[in-house]
Symmetry: C2
Subunit: 299 residues, 2 copies
Amino acid sequence: MNTPPSQRLGAGTPRLSLNRWTLRTTPIQEFLEAAASHGIDAVGLWRQDVEEVGLDALRRRADDAGLRVSSLCRGGFLTVADETARAASLEDNRRAIDEAAALGAPTLVMVVGGITREDKDISAARARVAENIAALAPYAETAGVTLALEPMHPMFTADRAVIATLDQALDIAEGTGSDAVGVVVDTYHVWWDPALEQAVARAGEAGRLLSYQVCDWNLPLAAEPLFSRGYMGDGFIDVPAITRLVTAAGYTGDIEVEIFNEDVWATPADTATAIVAERFEQLVLPYATPEHEDDHPFS
Amino acid sequence: MNTPPSQRLGAGTPRLSLNRWTLRTTPIQEFLEAAASHGIDAVGLWRQDVEEVGLDALRRRADDAGLRVSSLCRGGFLTVADETARAASLEDNRRAIDEAAALGAPTLVMVVGGITREDKDISAARARVAENIAALAPYAETAGVTLALEPMHPMFTADRAVIATLDQALDIAEGTGSDAVGVVVDTYHVWWDPALEQAVARAGEAGRLLSYQVCDWNLPLAAEPLFSRGYMGDGFIDVPAITRLVTAAGYTGDIEVEIFNEDVWATPADTATAIVAERFEQLVLPYATPEHEDDHPFS
C-alpha cells in the first residue's frame, strides 16, 4: 500500500486516531503513551486537557510521544440569545480556535448548543448558530483551522445541539461562504439518517468533510445516553457500510475512535486501546481504502 | 365557532382524542368514562385492549360512552427477513386492519420495526418495509382503513422503527401508489427535524396527513426513553408551533394526546385527564383553527 509516510509514523494502525474521551479517566500522560505504544499516529484532544496540562506543555507531550493532534473538541454553544452571553461565547470560540492552531490540530469540533424550556423557538436558535458560525469563520481562516460542525443525534437536539442532520450542517457550512467551515461525520450521531448516503457524498463534493469519528450504538441506552457509545461491532451500526460511504466521498484523513462508555473507562488503558485497535483493523480500516487503490493495487 | 357537530358530541374539548396509553394502568372502562366525563369525543385504542375486552365488546363500550375511536395502535413489525416470519407478520397486520375497521377507527398506526445486531443492513430493512406496506395497502383500501406510517424518533431506529423522518415515511407512502397509506405526525418523534415544516406541508399537499399526536419531550430522558413523553408544556417542544404547521397543512381531524410517563400513570385517571384537557386547551386547540376561520370569523 502507498500510504503516505505521514500516516505511518507508528508501527501499527494507519488512519486510527484515539480520541481522548475514549480513555477519559486515564491520566493524560498514560493516555498518550497507550496510544503511542499501540502504534497509533494521532489523538483527538479536548479543551479540558488544555486546561489541565497547559497549551504549550500539551503540545510538547504529544510531540514527544510522536502523536499528531487530529482534532480539538470542542467549540460551540452558539445558541444563546442574550447579546452579552453571545459575545462571551464568540470570544471563547476564538480562544478555542487559537488552541487548535497551537496544538497543530487541523480542525475544531463544534457542538452548537441546544434550546431551553423558556425559549423553545428552535428555528430562531438555528438561525443564531448560522449567524455565529459565519462570524467565526474569518478568524478560523486566519488561524488555519477548520470548524467542523457536528450534527448530533436527535436525542440531543434539546440540550446539546440544534444541528440534527448532516444536510442541515452542510446548509449552514455553505451559508457561511467560507472554505473553513465543514462537518464531522460521527457514526453514533448520523447512522439512522435515511439521507445519509447522499449527505455524505454531498459533504465530500463540497470539500467539507473534515473529520470522521467512529463508535457503535449500544442498547439498552445508558442512563446518560451520551455513554451508550460502544466499541465498533458491539452494537447496531453497520460501521463498514458508513466507512465505505465516507471513503467514497473522498475522505482520506484520520479516523477517530471516540467512545464514551463507563465500562470502557473501567478497563485498563492498555487493554481498551488494544480492543480499539483490533476492532478498527477489523471493521474500519478494510473499508477505508479508496476504491481506485483496489482497482489498481500497484499504482 | 363553526365546529362541525361531529366534533362536538361532548360538552368539552373539540378535536381532543385521549390515547389509551396515556392512562394505560387505568382499567379500560374507567378510562372510557374518564374521557367521556371530560367531554372528550374520541379515544385512540390499542390492540391490547382488543385482546383484553374482545373486539365487539370494546366497540360497544366505546359506543355506549359516546366515544369515537380515532385510531388503532398498532400494526407494523415489517422488517423481518425470514419468509415465514414475513407471512405471519402480514397476516397479523391484516387482522389489525380488520380490527380497526370493526372499531370504526379510520386509521391503523404502523410501527414498522427495527434491525438486529445480526443483520445491521438498514437499507435492506427499509426496502422490506416499503415492499410489505405496498403488499398491505390493497387490503386496507378494501377495509376502508388507512395505514398511518409512524416515523419514530431516531433513538428508536435500531429497535423499533427504521422509519426515522416524515419525508422518509412519505416516500414510502407515495411509493405504494395507494391513497390508503399516509403518515402520523407525533410531536415527540418529529419535533427535532430540520425539514419538519416542509415535510408537514408535503404530507398535507399529498393528502397523506392521517393523524396528529401530541405530547412533550421531557429531560432528563427516562430509563426507558419511550417514557419521557410528558404533558404538553412540561418539556422542550414548541407544541403551538408544530400545531400551526399541521393546521396550515390542512389537518382538521382528531388530535390525540399520547403520553407514556410513569408519573402520569401514577396519577388518578380523572386528575390526569383534567390536566390533559387543560393543556390541550392552552397549547393545542388555539393553534388548530384553520387560518381562514380567523380571517373570516362569520363565514
